[in-house]
Amino acid sequence: MSADALAPVAGPQPDSTGHFGRFGGRFVPEALVAALDELDGAWRTAMADESFRAEFGALLRDYAGTPSLLYEARRFSAKVGARVLLKREDLNHTGAHKVRNVLGQALLTKRMGKTRVIAETGAGQHGVATATAAALFDLECVVYMGQVDTERQALNVARMRMLGATVVPVTNGSRTLKDAMNEAMRDWVANVDQTHYLIGTAAGPHPFPAMVRDFVRGIGDEARQQCLDLTGELPDAVTACVGGGSNALGIFHAFVGDEAVRLYGFEAGGDGLATGRHAASITGGSTGVLHGTRTFVLQDADGQTLESHSISAGLDYPGVGPEHAWLHDTGRASYLPVTDDEAMAAFELLCRTEGIIPAIESAHALAGTVALAPKLAAELGREPTIVVNLSGRGDKDVHTAGDYFGILDKER
């Protein structure tokens, strides 16, 4: 099925200027509008072009290693009280669903005749994925990363440099992901002729949210068919973690039209919503404009962006993709916070029951599933089937998790 991962489907689409209900749109300097229009045109043309779809499909299959498996996690299921099917995006090349997006955008970059890509990264996963695609496609690559993050994630900085990328530590503002995104925007405004801004999630100005969603929606297309093949039925629920929200939209999209399938997005609740130290933009934020789009934002009474907090660097972002804001508004998907502690308990449970070390991001989806299972079982009067997007692997998180569980040997 990945051979035609961009085949049109009847899922929800934004209006022609990128609005999902009252969310989305373009809140950008005029200087970027021409580039966004060019990108929008290139994306639409590519979507309609069978040769582009074939090339993308071949890359996903031969290079990224998709379709990823849908694995029935029996020992985990027994602990949880639901039939849990894991969509193994952690097995993709570079270790997460993100490779799908970067390959799609790198192909588009080539089609637009641009020679340079820039990206923002928090923990470094999207930076590594972008650097990977840039190496493969022979593109110059500059990655902006908050200085706080370059220090926390020194190994990923090294990985990006090995792949030939330039990593620029950002020293403005809070020196984290949102500031890296600001800096990437500034670079883009200044160098837009030769440069594509390869945004790492389904956020930002139109067409990024819909375009990124389309590049990763193979996750759900595959999972839906795999679930039917395995169980003969659609699942009762599909769950995913939500930071910017690309992995969640990727798996939700194919199921949005299946009204009986419940969709759950689990946000990073950090220390708990009541503490104010979290990254739950939908459940703990309010409507605002950030990084080019109208969505839910963590902000103060004057509209200044608040710092987010999460044990998971990949979810540590004070906004969310506008399509999620809209799915929340319409009630089609439900969003709930998961605290650091709940996520880490689920992280440990998957390690011990299945021998799979998940990304801490994905552990939020697992923890949400653990809490959801008994409620759904009670409601349905039977064991529910739940498809969980295991969006990434935990290699990058070993240090954080080791620290959390206190299992690292003391410094020599």
Binding site: R26, E30, G173, M185, R186, N191, G288, A301, G303
Partner: protein, 267 residues
Amino acid sequence: MSRIGVAFDKARADGRALLVGCMPAGFPTVEGSIAAMTAMVEAGVDVIEVEIPYSDPVMDGPVIQRASDIALAGGVRTADTMRIIEAVAATGAPVVTMTYWNPVERYGVDVFARDLASAGGTGLITPDLIPDEADEWLAASDAHGLDRTFLVSPSSTDARLSMTVQHCRGFVYATAVMGVTGARARTSDAAPTLVSRARAVTDLPIGVGLGVGTGAQAGTVAGYADGVIVGSALVRCVLDAPTEADGLAALRTLSAELAEGVRNPTR
């Protein structure tokens, strides 16, 4: 005609360009920013552009970012900005406000417009709000008699240029370079072309900003534009000064130099 329009006309009649000087509200403090803007007016700046500090200013370079961070760390609120505008407007100079969109949306677009008008502000420059998304602002600015300055860029297509200036009132802001705010060694080659493209589709005065920092550069820009907009170079006077008094002195010196520049257009 708006107060800004009158000021532009007067400058044009005098054979010179209008000098617009920008300073973030609340930088370095609320009172300090009022003192700085007042000094700028006294030294020859015609119009004060008060920038509302914002946590994520994507159109600004490092100097204005740092000043905005200082203002926010000092606790400046949007309501303080209104007070600053009122104080600066009392000098008699027209005061235009530059703001990213989220603080306005959070304040409430119509309430913001009402309070801005009652503080004596003439209108808004909106770096990340394009007319395509501006329905609420178009209505509020009409209701409260405020000017609307949207940006045009060297990358704007003819169709967008024309659409954008149609939605402007007061003046048009032409961004001289593809990039963010900040003084540059050379003024832009793209700016004269952009200004003449804009003139073909509007009679509104056109201000040019981004990268102007010296009297000579102001003179060059005054040669083809109606307004010369200076931000980072002025902000730097305050940012780099060891004391507030030194900052004000540097600000007066540069303001006077720029005022001289706009009176000696290089044609």
